[in-house]
């Protein structure tokens, strides 16, 4: 008990380079009629402040479950998650809602509200957080400028391209000054060129705001382009993790070697991406 409160104290001190996310022995099982399925087994990870942390794995490896546990869209069975000094896994429902307001999230299918304009979508989290109307308008303009969509403020999502929709998603996630941004396969529905520009935007935001980003992906190119650290998830277990350079130059897990082989193959053949 004392040890864990001490840990929380240090995390909340938020010194540069300190840990902003600590995941400790996280477990999650799904009970299906065909038997028990281990989505996560003893997952332990630390993410440092200001880092872009990538989690890569094949489909079904548990990536999505893991990132969704971070804001408890998915409830872990056991283990603990501490984000910015707050033990997420120990929060009551109303405390969790408050904590979620400081954890931005972007999604593969954007999940924008079709009945609201771009402006209205970005204002949404601020309305939920109880911002005064005037400040909302100001903040929305500011953040739309940051993602390069000022001219689309009055458009509806149906009028936007996939890349523009994800920019709205990013603006919405950043509006309420989050501590952390979670990215759930945010570029998987986009073409390679749009993917690159969205990743550039994320890297840019990371630099400008010092925002910590955790992203999951099944694409090596995403990790290569923007991540500082990477963890490899295989059948619910972290099989390898570390700085991207180190992991790429000397992969120790079979999954990572498979990923690297596959991506070099693509590059070597000069596939018209």
């Amino acid at each position: 008990m004392e040890v864990s409160s001490l840990a929380i104290f240090f995390v909340s001190a938020r010194s540069h380079g300190g840990q902003v996310i600590t995941i400790d022995s996280l477990n999650k099982q799904y009970h299906t009629p065909r038997g028990t399925y281990h989505a996560l087994r003893d997952v332990t990870l630390q993410v440092e402040k200001g880092d872009i942390f990538g989690i890569i794995g094949l489909s079904g490896a548990g990536k999505s479950t893991l990132i969704r546990c971070l804001n408890r869209l998915e409830e872990p069975d056991s283990g603990s998650i501490v984000i910015d000094g707050r033990e997420i896994t120990g929060l009551a429902t109303h405390e969790l809602r408050e904590a979620r307001k400081k954890i931005g999230m972007i999604f593969q299918h954007f999940n924008l509200l079709d009945s609201r304009t771009v402006q209205g979508n970005v204002a949404f989290p601020l309305e939920l957080a109880g911002w005064p109307r005037k400040e909302i308008a100001q903040r929305v303009a500011e953040i739309l400028d940051l993602v390069g969509l000022s001219d689309k403020a009055g458009s509806y999502p149906a009028q936007l391209s996939g890349g523009q929709k994800q920019r709205v998603g990013i603006a919405r996630a950043l509006a309420n000054h989050p501590e952390v941004l979670l990215s759930d396969e945010a570029t998987s529905a986009l073409d390679p060129q749009t993917t690159r520009s969205i990743l550039e935007l994320l890297a840019d935001i990371n630099r400008k705001l010092g925002l910590t980003i955790v992203l999951i992906t099944h694409e090596m190119s995403v990790i290569r382009q923007i991540c500082g650290k990477v963890a490899v998830l295989d059948r619910g277990e972290i099989v390898e993790s570390g700085p991207v350079d180190a992991v790429f130059s000397a992969p120790s897990s079979a999954t990572m070697r498979l990923f690297l082989e596959h991506s070099t193959l693509l590059q070597g053949s000069g596939a018209g991406i």
Partner: protein, 222 residues
């Protein structure tokens, strides 16, 4: 044509309109919360409660099973208690709204269920409460479909008022039965049916137009 026909029809239409509006408002007040609760209490939704969901489902199904004429008779004591009489348009609005509410609840349930799960999830991730999700996500996102459902309900209620007219509610249905059917006044019969046809067309046309307008904003391209 008889000179008493026009005022009679006007009064009848007025009564029908009054019953339809009053019953629709009351049916929405009862049916909207019911429909919303059925959706959000379903498995995996924002207020998951299998027991509440089952109970509501059974209540809705039972209420919907009653033939409307039986419903009126059963609810006579309630009409007398709430309105003070069992005759007239206001008294008829009691069984009308209670019969229409579960029907409307199902229509609302179907509309709200169509809202993409991902939108609800995104709102949850932003710290929205279940009530905020209902007010700011489910209802606005389903609005065009809700308008069409409400249009359907208004037309069904209009049909119900004719049945209610058979046992003392007044309105056009009552005119058609008392004069057109019982006294062989074909002009009355023809005129009431004509008015109802025009009315129903008008309601459907307005509903469609409104729903299209809502939809156009959301799905306009380029």
């Amino acid at each position: 044509m008889n000179e008493d026909l026009i005022p009679m029809l006007l009064t009848g239409f007025g009564e029908t309109l009054y019953m339809v509006v009053l019953s629709t408002v009351a049916a929405v007040l009862l049916g909207l919360p019911l429909g919303v609760l059925v959706v959000i209490s379903s498995t995996g939704h924002v207020m998951e409660s299998p027991r509440l969901n089952r109970v509501l489902g059974v209540v809705i199904n039972i209420t919907r099973s009653f033939p409307f004429i039986i419903m009126i008779v059963l609810l006579l004591p309630l009409s007398r208690f709430l309105v003070g009489t069992t005759l007239g348009a206001t008294a008829a609005a009691v069984p009308l709204s209670i019969a229409a509410a579960p029907f409307l609840a199902r229509i609302i349930e179907n509309s709200l269920k169509e809202v993409d799960r991902g939108k609800v999830e995104a709102a949850l991730a932003m710290g929205a409460t279940p009530l905020q999700i209902v007010r700011k996500v489910l209802i606005p996102e389903a609005l065009s479909s809700l308008v069409l459902g409400l249009t359907l309900a208004v037309i069904t209620i209009t049909g119900f008022t004719a049945t209610a007219g058979a046992i003392g509610a007044g309105g056009l249905g009552s005119l058609a039965i008392r004069y057109g059917y019982m006294r062989y006044r074909e002009d009355v019969m023809f005129a009431t049916v004509l008015i109802l046809v025009v009315f129903v067309q008008g309601v459907q046309w307005s509903g469609d137009k409104l729903a299209r307008r809502i939809n156009r904003n959301q799905h306009r391209l380029g």
